[in-house]
């Protein structure tokens, strides 16, 4: 065995005890090396043509857009992609020392929360106001929505008929016991979705809905929506609650998967589908305001919009940009009317409600 070939010499310990410690004199060097290598990593002063983007959007969905921006402007973009709430927390702790210039998230509530905390900078940019309708922006343009996503029901086509469910609230019915898959209580989508239900139907009804959801899901509580779609496709669950693009994404890689998407609450007088947006804001303490504004400008431009939305099969918010043809036509369904900016104020009471019910 090769690794034991190190036994060529007799055991040194027995032969010459004076010379046994081979690392003598090495510790100070090692320590010094450690310190030097660490100190060398201290953040250098940021160059003018660089931008740091904190993104709650998955790397693969945002990097191509940023690469296109970089190619077009020559501004180098460094990306930190992580969880949305995590990034807002991080920005808050970092305060004015932050390296971040731009925040991109998948949840309007988180952007609004960042605005309330004073982490974002109000923008007066005619480009954004022309491109993005006002209901998808913060009142002071601290953040701007970029693409729309809908919280929908995915179902296994071999087990469920589309007529079985008309509303998200149906999932709390006893017939779905052990048959549904839901995201965990830390998911921004779930929190935003429940916030909309709560704003529409009030606390009591929402609580009963959550209790039913909890009982029906059992252990099928997932960290990631993609896992929910996979569970439904495999038949581990009959139906699941996810954002619409996860279904298309799964179908893109596995065209034959027995799943389909159901746009809930479209019946006469129904609440409408629960909508959220991915959006962008410029960090208040940015040292690269011009570059950051150019990035926002690019993202709301027709080319940027098309790319940003299509990468994740979302609906562009620019009225003149068409969604991916694979998607359900946007005109065929309506969205719930709760304003996006309210998602922030609704969030803490919603989370408390979710915790009271004891969702995982």
């Amino acid at each position: 065995m090769k690794m034991h070939e190190g036994v060529r010499r007799p055991d040194r310990r027995e032969v010459r005890p004076e010379t046994v410690f081979p690392y003598r004199g090495m510790w100070p060097i090692l320590i010094l090396a450690c310190l030097v290598s660490i100190a060398g990593q201290a953040p250098s002063s940021p160059a003018a043509d660089r931008l740091v983007v904190y993104s709650g959007r998955a790397e693969r969905l945002i990097k191509p857009v940023l690469d296109a921006f970089q190619a077009r402007t020559g501004i180098q973009v460094d990306l930190l992609s992580s969880g949305t709430t995590e990034l807002v927390n991080r920005l808050q702790v970092e305060g004015e020392r932050t390296q971040a210039d731009v925040l991109i998230t998948n949840d309007a509530g988180s952007l609004e929360r960042a605005r309330e905390l004073g982490l974002l900078r109000p923008l007066s940019m005619p480009e954004t106001e022309r491109a993005i309708p006002s209901q998808f922006r913060a009142p002071d343009n601290s953040w701007v929505g970029l693409s729309g996503r809908f919280w929908i029901v995915v179902y296994n086509t071999t087990r469920v008929k589309p007529g079985d469910i008309t509303s998200i609230l149906d999932l709390a019915a006893p017939r779905w016991k052990e048959k549904i898959a839901i995201p965990n209580s830390g998911s921004e989508y779930l929190q935003a979705g429940v916030s909309v239900i709560k704003a529409t139907y009030g606390d009591e009804k929402t609580k009963r809905f959550l209790q039913g959801l909890k009982a029906n899901a059992g252990t099928q509580v997932y960290q990631k929506s993609s896992q929910i779609v996979e569970a439904v496709a495999k038949g581990e669950a009959d139906v699941g609650l996810v954002n619409h693009y996860y279904v298309y994404r799964h179908l893109a890689t596995q065209p034959g998967a027995p799943i389909a998407l159901l746009m809930p609450d479209q019946y006469e007088g129904g609440m409408g589908a629960i909508m959220n947006v991915a959006g962008v804001g410029v960090v208040r303490h940015t040292r690269h305001l011009d570059g950051a504004k150019r990035l926002v400008e690019f993202l709301v431009s027709q080319a940027g919009q098309k790319m940003f939305a299509d990468l994740n099969k979302e609906y562009p918010l620019h009225p003149e940009v068409k969604a991916d043809p694979a998607l359900l036509e946007r005109k065929t369904f309506r969205a719930a009317t709760v304003p996006l900016a309210r998602l922030a104020e609704l969030r803490e009471p919603t989370v408390t409600l979710i915790e009271q019910v004891g969702l995982r």
């Binding site: 090692l30 969880g83 915790e355």
Partner: protein, 519 residues
């Protein structure tokens, strides 16, 4: 212990140890502050909804994994130390291979193998059984390594005396050998338990709700960290209970090797049937823990390469991972030595307290230690803020105990007599340390370094939260891809982690001079 030594003052070492211990406790204090300053209503709500389930899950997982790793680890050590069969030497080192496999990778592989539509849907992976299986397969080498080293180090004359006095083979094993091994086994189990209760990657992929997983969910899903603080504090309490129990076990039994000369124990030669049984047993477990997952990773990696997903960026990921882990492990060993030395040789209440304080970090779940450090650094050392230094400190806080688990027994093995002899022969304090103590404990140090290196290579939650912008490690790459279900794309990074940690493991095995002696 020895009164002669107790009166020799060690001011610089003592001060250093005290300062380190103080710094290492800061994150814990912050968490305690966060939890205890919480609104009692939050406590009540958590008790009513989440805590009982989380406590039961965490403790039962720790218990299940301990039991299983104890059986596997000790029986493997027994096989390779006391028996001879073809291939024994290969098994001897191959059994540490699972240490190179990150737990979250193993977890995914098993969701594939055991999951619906997988090759062996024996039982659902998203369960207590699944989590226990994955954690056991990943952690049994801790018990194996430590009990094997102790077994090789065992003075056979104790057993011979027992046999000469008429004890049966089994009685000797049960009443002499195993009690002598107990400190090593318990130390191994402590490593396993701390690893299990602070694991995040595997339990989150297996959706098994433990305290650490719940803390991470709270940390990443909420703006308010009170609930996370409360759950963390519970976690710390659980781990402290385990640690105190471990120290109690070890305190009760302290053994010194009095003779400097060892004789190799007789190895029992196995017949064909015994060989078949031993090989089969080892092959099944090692296959499940390493060979099959590694083969799957290779297969997935190949298809990722075909897809063109492996490019020049990987050089950067590799560099980041290795330099970060290697540097951290070195720093941690340097920091850990004074703590372990003082506690092993001058176990005053103060020194023991310093050591215990250093253990605290292991039970601070990655995300919580990360948050505490972010706040501390932004107030105390803004210059290093947002740099890799914060990450290194988080690793040291989190993994120093893993190293201490090796440093401490290593230092305990040296009898004070040897050092006293050196002193009485005229060597100074420093020379005694350099020429007597360090050579004797060198292997413990190497083991400590390697273990911390391995932990750092695989660490996930703290890295996710603290990495500087643009600083991706291999573990981050695995997670970014795997958590988006792109398992094939995650495979190359996972495989690279395994390949980069293997040389460190080899070092661990080949440096084991006791193994060399007994061949």
């Amino acid at each position: 212990m020895t009164t002669a030594f107790r009166h020799i003052p060690f001011p610089p070492l003592q001060v250093f140890a005290a300062a380190t211990a103080g710094l290492l406790t800061l994150p814990l204090l912050y968490i305690g502050f966060l939890a205890l300053s919480a609104d009692p209503a939050v406590w009540v709500r958590l008790w009513a909804t989440r805590i009982p389930e989380l406590l039961i899950n965490t403790v039962s997982l720790a218990a299940g994994v301990s039991l299983a790793t104890c059986v596997l680890g000790v029986s493997f050590a027994w096989l390779v130390v006391r028996f001879d069969f073809p291939g024994r030497r290969i098994w001897e080192w191959a059994l540490v291979l699972p240490l190179a496999m990150p737990t979250y990778v193993l977890a995914y592989v098993y969701t594939f193998i055991l999951g619906m539509g997988g090759p062996f849907p024996l039982f659902p992976p998203h369960s207590f059984a699944g989590a226990t299986l994955v954690m056991t397969l990943d952690t049994f080498p801790f018990v194996y390594l430590l009990s094997r080293a102790a077994w090789l180090n065992l003075n056979v004359s104790f057993e011979e005396v027992a046999r000469a006095c008429g004890a049966s083979r089994f009685e000797t094993l049960w009443r002499v050998t195993l009690p002598l091994l107990r400190p090593a086994i318990v130390a191994g189990l402590a490593l396993v338990i701390l690893y299990v209760v602070s694991d995040f990657g595997a339990v989150s992929l297996l959706r098994y709700q433990t305290l650490t997983y719940a803390v991470y969910q709270q940390m990443t899903g909420r703006y308010d960290h009170t609930a996370a603080g409360i759950l963390s504090l519970l976690l710390v309490v659980i781990a402290l209970v385990f640690l105190v129990a471990e120290r109690w076990f070890r305190r009760k039994s302290r053994f010194y090797q009095t003779a400097g000369r060892y004789r190799a124990p007789e190895r029992k030669r196995c017949g064909p049937l015994g060989t078949l049984f031993a090989t089969g047993y080892l092959a099944i477990v090692l296959g499940a823990a390493f060979l099959v997952p590694a083969a799957l990773l290779v297969r997935w990696s190949l298809s990722a390469i075909v897809q063109g997903a492996v490019d020049g960026r990987f050089v950067g990921f590799i560099w980041n991972s290795t330099v970060l882990s290697g540097g951290t492990a070195t720093c941690a060993v340097v920091i850990g030595i004074p703590l372990a030395y003082l506690a092993a040789r001058h176990p005053s209440r103060f020194n023991l307290a310093c050591l215990q304080a250093a253990y605290a970090g292991y039970v601070l779940p990655g995300p919580v230690a990360a948050l505490a450090l972010l706040v501390l650094f932004s107030h105390v050392a803004p210059f290093w803020y947002g740099s890799i230094v914060v990450l290194v400190v988080a690793y040291i806080v989190h993994f120093l105990p893993a190293g201490l688990q090796s440093l401490e027994p290593a230092l305990q093995q040296v009898t004070p007599n040897l050092e006293q002899a050196a002193r009485s022969l005229g060597l100074g304090m420093r020379e005694t340390l350099q020429r007597v103590t360090l050579p004797l404990v060198r292997n413990g140090f190497i083991a400590a370094w390697v273990l911390m290196f391995l932990h750092c290579m695989k660490e996930l939650p703290a890295t996710l939260l603290l990495r500087p912008v643009g600083f991706d490690t291999l573990a981050i790459r695995v997670w970014l891809e795997a958590s988006e279900e792109y398992y094939q794309l995650a495979a190359p990074s996972a495989l690279l982690i395994v390949m980069l940690t293997l040389p460190a493991l080899m070092l661990l095995v080949s440096k084991d001079w006791r193994a060399t002696r007994t061949r």
